[in-house]
Amino acid sequence: MAGKISIVLIEHSYLLRAGMESLLMELPEVQLTEVFDGSEKRLAEKILHLKPDFIMINPKSVRDSLNSFIRSLGNEVPLTGLIDENTPPEIRGKFKHILVITDSKYDLLNRMHKLIGTHYTKKSDSHESRPLSERETTVLKHVTQGMTNQEIAEKLFLSVHTVTTHRKNITKKLGIKTVSGLTVYALLNKVIDMREINQ
């Protein structure tokens, strides 16, 4: 779904799950993609398949397997721990962010807003906010001329894989997915002119 931040929740307690669901409903930019109770088989695999932006987990829901669970998730998705005052510091330390479940609604929402904010700032520090590189501009030009990845690879003496990577980066940087959308962008920014696309 374009634009929404997707969250996966792992929480075994029904009431806390319902509470988190209703809290997240108050944040229009967020979408709760899936809820697990922690007992599912091959949980990490299932979650990675969903490609969430954030994972929220109550460490008690996976009990002893917390370490292996975190390991199998890798570092791709930031983990938010749902903890309380009694959670030992060594468990707290495993999470990138924490939410204290006994906090007031006001504090919880505040924390959530900050958390969501990190998602956007993370994006803008990375390469995605820079304009297209010279190479990417060349690839863009050829894409708008209707060339396939294979043809572009041959023309520029690159592997098809490299061309695919360039195309992915172009789409990420510009926020434009379709070839005709890219063509409009290229015309607006004088990467190409009308005569060139009719070739």
Binding site: G3, L174, S180, V184, L188
Partner: protein, 243 residues
């Protein structure tokens, strides 16, 4: 919120006015008075359970219809989906096109070509959406109605069986192409790359329409995937057992 049959329809609309075009697709228009959903559905000859199934699915992205709710006529579902298509093609798309044309007219002379690009882009989207809808209307829906007829009459024509073997609804789920991508691109073109006109008054209207259309199409696709597809799978299963 789960919408129930003894709620007043007016209260439901106050709660979520995005449902107005949805109730229209059942033939229910504003000015419906003070009745509950059940009363109004009865007056309008609408299957109440099916009405609730659709508006709940539309209203709440987390809502997941249960198996026992599948007992409505496939014909009403097809009629609903058809009315939604009409709404997209005859109201929404022309409205947005009019706004983009207006944007072109009111822009500075030196930017006119840029807005024409956006208009062309939107027209291309319109052609794709129309083609997608045509395919559903001429190929998928008649098949669904045919399946229901087979179950009602108990006679399985060879033609239907052959079609079930060559094309089952599972394929439809796969080929359910993503018509959302172009809308997403258009939003970014307007937000990031096209010049500003008239303090953005028209652009804001266009974006509101685009976000709205995008949301409506998303719910529409969800209704197709979560209600139409399982319904048809169940019918295909019944017919296989019959023959």
């Amino acid at each position: 919120m789960r919408i129930e049959k003894d709620m007043k329809l007016a209260d439901v609309i106050h709660h979520d006015f995005n449902l107005i075009p949805v109730i229209n697709r059942f033939g229910i228009q504003l000015g419906f008075g003070d009745g509950t959903i059940e009363q109004i559905c009865k007056e309008q000859n609408v299957n109440t359970a099916f009405f609730l199934l659709i508006i709940n699915t539309y209203h709440d992205p987390q809502y997941f219809p249960k198996k026992h709710l599948q007992s409505f006529p496939a014909g009403s579902l097809v009629a609903y989906l058809h009315n939604a298509h009409e709404y997209y093609l005859e109201q929404k798309i022309p409205e947005i096109k009019k706004l983009i044309t207006k944007l072109t007219e009111e822009s500075d002379e030196k930017h006119k070509d840029n807005f024409k690009l956006a208009l062309n882009f939107f027209e291309e989207y319109e052609r794709e959406l129309t083609a997608h809808i045509d395919r559903e209307e001429t190929s998928v829906y008649p098949y669904v109605v045919e399946l229901e007829k087979v179950i009602e009459t108990g006679a399985t024509p060879k033609k239907v069986l052959a079609r079930m073997q060559s094309y089952s609804i599972a394929d439809y789920e796969d080929e359910h192409e993503n018509v959302e991508e172009k809308l997403y691109d258009l939003k970014n073109l307007i937000i990031k790359y096209l010049p500003s006109v008239q303090k953005d008054v028209i652009s804001y209207k266009i974006l509101r329409e685009l976000f709205d259309l995008e949301r409506d199409l998303r719910e529409h696709a969800r209704i197709e995937d979560m209600i139409l597809v399982p319904k048809v799978e169940a019918m295909e299963f019944t017919i296989r057992k019959m023959s």
